[in-house]
Amino acid sequence: MPIDTTIGALADSTRRELLRRLADKPCRAGELAEGFTISRPAICKHTRMLGRAGLIRAKKVGRERIYELAPRGQLAVQELIRTLEEVGAFWDGTLNAFKRFVEENR
């Protein structure tokens, strides 16, 4: 996948929000478009770009299209979540050490 296609796919807050929603669970097209102020066709354009970048994919179930993260998008999101958890645990440890020190010594 050319790097520029991926950069382009992520260079937009709507597309990043679509990725975040799909990171939670696969969504029907209608569900995925909910809550955006822009039109349905505009959302479709965004999902096509994410698809071309290899980050999401769509499957047909009956007459509906269900969108989900592609394996590559999944790996990326998992990696990000793992880092956020590690850093969160780091701050828990740091803040607890801080509280102990202040309350014992001041």
Partner: protein, 144 residues
């Protein structure tokens, strides 16, 4: 994408802010592995002014700059950048101190994860590196 943590400390904001910043070397758990220097961990400093350094000094005298101070308003807020050597882009940390009864509520927000948590994967090439992709995107977007 922001990490938020908070804790209540049973002292006034003035005391809590001063200990957090001026006396960071006395309480930061460097020896418990919270250091970029590993076994060389010795001391850590926050310089109390905007543009000042947030850095560690190791046992061999060398220093490692974690980031730069971006806000310093005692006893309310201190903010700094934070860059792991493996990341291409810095993240942002903001620590707020608010009166909470007779004590202080300390809130940490750690932002900027769009720009580079997974730089460790750099060696694996572009194809699966979300972080690299987003860093490049951010750099480009900011340059535009």
């Amino acid at each position: 994408m922001t990490i938020r943590k908070a804790i209540r400390v049973e002292r006034s904001p003035e005391v809590v802010f001063r200990v957090f910043t001026e006396e960071i070397g006395k309480w930061w758990p460097l020896k418990e592995g919270f250091s970029f220097g590993g076994d060389k961990a010795k001391d850590i400093f926050i310089e109390g002014r905007v543009g000042g350094r947030f850095f560690e000094r190791f046992t061999d005298g060398t220093e490692f700059e974690v980031g730069r101070i971006t806000a310093f308003q005692p006893p309310h807020v201190v903010a700094f950048t934070w860059k792991d050597p493996n990341w291409e882009a810095p993240t942002q940390v903001e620590v707020k101190f608010a009166p909470d009864g007779a004590g202080t509520r300390v809130e940490v927000e750690h932002r900027g994860w769009e720009a580079g948590p997974t730089m460790q994967k750099q060696g694996q090439g572009y194809s699966d590196g979300w972080g690299i992709i987003l860093v490049r995107f951010t750099t480009r977007a900011e340059a535009a």
